[in-house]
């Protein structure tokens, strides 16, 4: 993906982040919104290296993963607000949950960290069916603590499953800093235990993320097994919007993003194109929100649908 294409994606994700921040501050929100402000470059850069038919298990911080994979912002916001126009019709597994089988968007572990094993299974299907599809599994430094990670990493490495694990290390597992949860400085150091490459990349540098992901995807597609990418980033907002972050001394004031991935990428593209894309992104987000707020929520008839095939 070209710098300009990537800029468009980062700008689109950013526009949704800022719009949601504003909407929630003005109107509140029935649920928990986990903002991904400042982490857009990882989501856009990593997904850019995937094919349309590659599988995606996203994490809970933001909408960028699925937006970059081609899902409509209308669908994503409808899922966020539990509207019938969303992909899961108000039945998802937490905020926010969406699905698009045509684009390989399969879900997130509503119980955080549970997609490690599910993603491994998708890799087994790809391997068995000979499709050369790759599975990208996003997670945070917090969920790297789960036993599911160990069980999946161990066997996926032995079986050379076509996986890429993308860790968005923002330094905080809700209220506990990484230094208090990990005996090693880097999550990527753990890759050595599983005999797979552990790659550290600057998560604010969208192009660097795309480059690392491209290499990992090629390795997975060639049947050489999984790669662990650790993208170093930071958490600009609270764990959820409204989190007062009393446990934290480095709270960022307002919506300023230190080492902003959008600004860093802007240096790589013509200014007039960047301006145009930002205007388009803002308009797209606002139109999507307007459309979604006018949608109905489901009536009781949908509750019992979809339990069984």
């Amino acid at each position: 993906m070209t710098e300009l294409d990537l800029y468009r994606e980062v700008a689109r994700i950013r526009a949704l982040e800022l719009l949601l921040n504003r909407y929630i501050s003005e109107h509140g929100f029935g649920g928990f919104w986990h903002p991904g402000l400042g982490q857009e470059g990882i989501q856009a850069g990593a997904v850019a290296a995937l094919r349309n038919d590659d599988y995606l298990f996203y994490a809970h911080r933001g909408l960028g993963y699925a937006l970059a994979k081609g899902m409509s912002p209308v669908t994503l916001l409808a899922d966020l607000f539990g509207k019938t126009g969303g992909s899961v019709g108000g039945k998802g597994g937490g905020t926010v949950h969406f699905v698009d089988p045509e684009r390989g968007v399969l879900g997130q572990g509503g119980t955080v960290g549970s997609s490690f094993v599910l993603g491994a299974g998708a890799g087994i299907s790809a391997q068995m069916l000979g499709t050369d599809r790759v599975v990208a599994i996003f997670f945070g430094d917090g969920s790297s603590a789960r036993g599911t990670w160990h069980e999946a990493a161990l066997t996926a490495s032995v079986w050379k499953l076509p996986l890429v694990w993308v860790c968005e290390n923002n330094g905080w597992a809700i209220s506990v800093p990484i230094g208090e949860q990990s005996p090693t400085e880097n999550i990527a150091d753990r890759a050595a235990a599983y005999g797979v490459p552990g790659v550290i990349v600057d998560g604010q540098d969208t192009l660097a993320v795309q480059a690392a992901m491209t290499e990992a995807v090629a390795r997975a597609r060639a049947g050489e097994g999984p790669t662990l990418i650790e993208a170093k980033t930071l958490r600009v907002r609270g764990h959820f919007e409204g989190d007062k972050q009393s446990y934290r001394e480095d709270v960022v004031d307002g919506l300023d993003v230190p080492r902003d991935p959008l600004k860093l990428l802007r240096e790589q593209v013509p200014a007039e194109d960047a301006d145009r894309l930002e205007v388009e992104a803002k308009a797209e987000a606002e139109a999507a929100l307007e459309e979604v707020l006018a949608m109905p929520t489901g009536d009781a008839s949908v509750i019992t649908e979809g339990v069984w095939v």
Binding site: Y55, G86, S87, V88, G89, K91, G92, G93, H97, V99, P101, L106, G107, G110, T111, S114, F116, V117, L118, G119, A120, G121, A122, G123, I124, S125, A126, Q127, M128, L129, G147, T148, E151, A152, L154, T155, W159, E305, G306, V307, W308, V309
Partner: protein, 334 residues
């Protein structure tokens, strides 16, 4: 009233019948595969998957490490993406190790995705007492499956059903918990060899007809209830023994029709009595057939204790043929 279910075919052991179902379904559909600890060259700790590795190879018969979370979770992920896994846990008890994967992912991921995904998989769960394996390897946990909407729950009590229900489970587009009783692995019975022999879900089998009391029994309690019925028949007391075969879906129609005929019901299972499957069945009987009842609906289940390791003691915890006979006589006298 439906006629008594009569099974036909060559005699085969319960474990061999499960094996036959697995082999036939893997031959029929190359998307079917299996995973679990020691299911490959060893053929499983109970020998149930013997021969599969040699015929289908390591790509479709996958030995895992000691990782129940992976076994079930990877099976779910594979089921979401176009293959049909049959996962084996060495003991049904171990599904609690993979609790999130069984009760959340298997059960709910179709629903949570607005019905856009499906989870066509089978989780094989060797269940029940087998003689001396203790409190963490002997439980009957099928009620858990009934408590999580989205799962189907199967408990074969004969070799024919072991085969026919497993084949149906593999062909079902929904996730199925398949509780195979490890104490019955060597039990022999007629098993059809038709590769399309399927036992439908939600159709109870009437194992013995009788007019004086309905006994609803599952798993190992089916042969024990039949033996008790045989003894009572010597005294001219006729029990009707119904084996639901699947708890989800549950064929209450057959049970209610029987209770309306007999006026009495005894529900027997190996699971602990408190909040066991019998609690649900008994409740539904009194809801639907209260005015047909001549006596309260009784439940007979395991004592509310963990299963002791001693093979002698464990048999004292679960209902015996004597217990069923005694309970039936007492209930009849009410």
């Amino acid at each position: 009233m439906s006629p008594v279910t009569v099974e036909s075919g060559e005699p085969l052991g319960y474990a061999r019948a499960i094996n036959a179902a697995l082999m036939e379904e893997m031959r029929r559909d190359e998307k079917v595969w299996m995973l679990g600890q020691d299911v490959g060259k060893m053929g499983g700790v109970f020998g149930v998957t013997r021969g599969a590795f040699d015929e289908f190879g390591p790509g479709r018969v996958r030995d895992t490490t000691l990782n129940e979370t992976f076994i079930v979770g990877a099976a779910v992920g594979a089921a979401l993406t176009g293959t049909i896994p049959v996962a084996e846990l060495q003991f049904a008890d171990f599904m609690m190790i993979a609790g999130d994967e069984v009760f959340h992912k298997m059960a709910k991921w179709r629903y949570m995705h607005g019905g856009k995904l499906s989870v066509p998989m089978v989780l094989r769960l060797p269940t029940g007492v087998i003689g001396g394996v203790g409190a963490e390897h002997s439980q009957s946990l099928e009620a858990l499956g009934m408590h999580f909407p989205g799962l189907k729950v199967v408990l074969p009590a004969t070799p024919a059903d072991a085969k026919g229900l497993l084949k149906t489970a593999i062909r079902d587009p929904n996730p199925v918990l398949y509780f195979e009783h490890k104490g019955m692995y060597r039990m022999k019975g007629p098993v059809p060899d038709d590769p399309d022999f399927l036992v439908p879900f939600g159709e109870a089998a009437i194992r013995r007809e009788g007019g004086q009391m309905t006994v609803v029994a599952t798993g190992l309690m089916v042969p024990r209830a039949l033996e008790a019925a045989e003894r009572l028949a010597a005294d001219g007391i006729e029990l009707e023994v119904i084996d639901p075969r699947t708890l989800v879906p549950l064929d209450m129609e057959t049970i209610i029709a029987s209770v309306e005929k007999t006026g009495r019901a005894l529900v027997v299972h190996e699971a602990v009595r408190t909040a066991g499957p019998g609690a649900e069945i008994a409740a539904r009987i009194q809801e639907a057939a209260f005015f047909a009842l001549d006596a309260p609906v009784w439940r007979l289940g395991a004592l509310d204790t963990p299963i002791p390791q001693s093979p002698d003691l464990e048999q004292l915890v679960i209902p015996s043929t004597d217990d069923i006979e005694a309970a039936a006589r007492e209930l009849l006298a009410l």
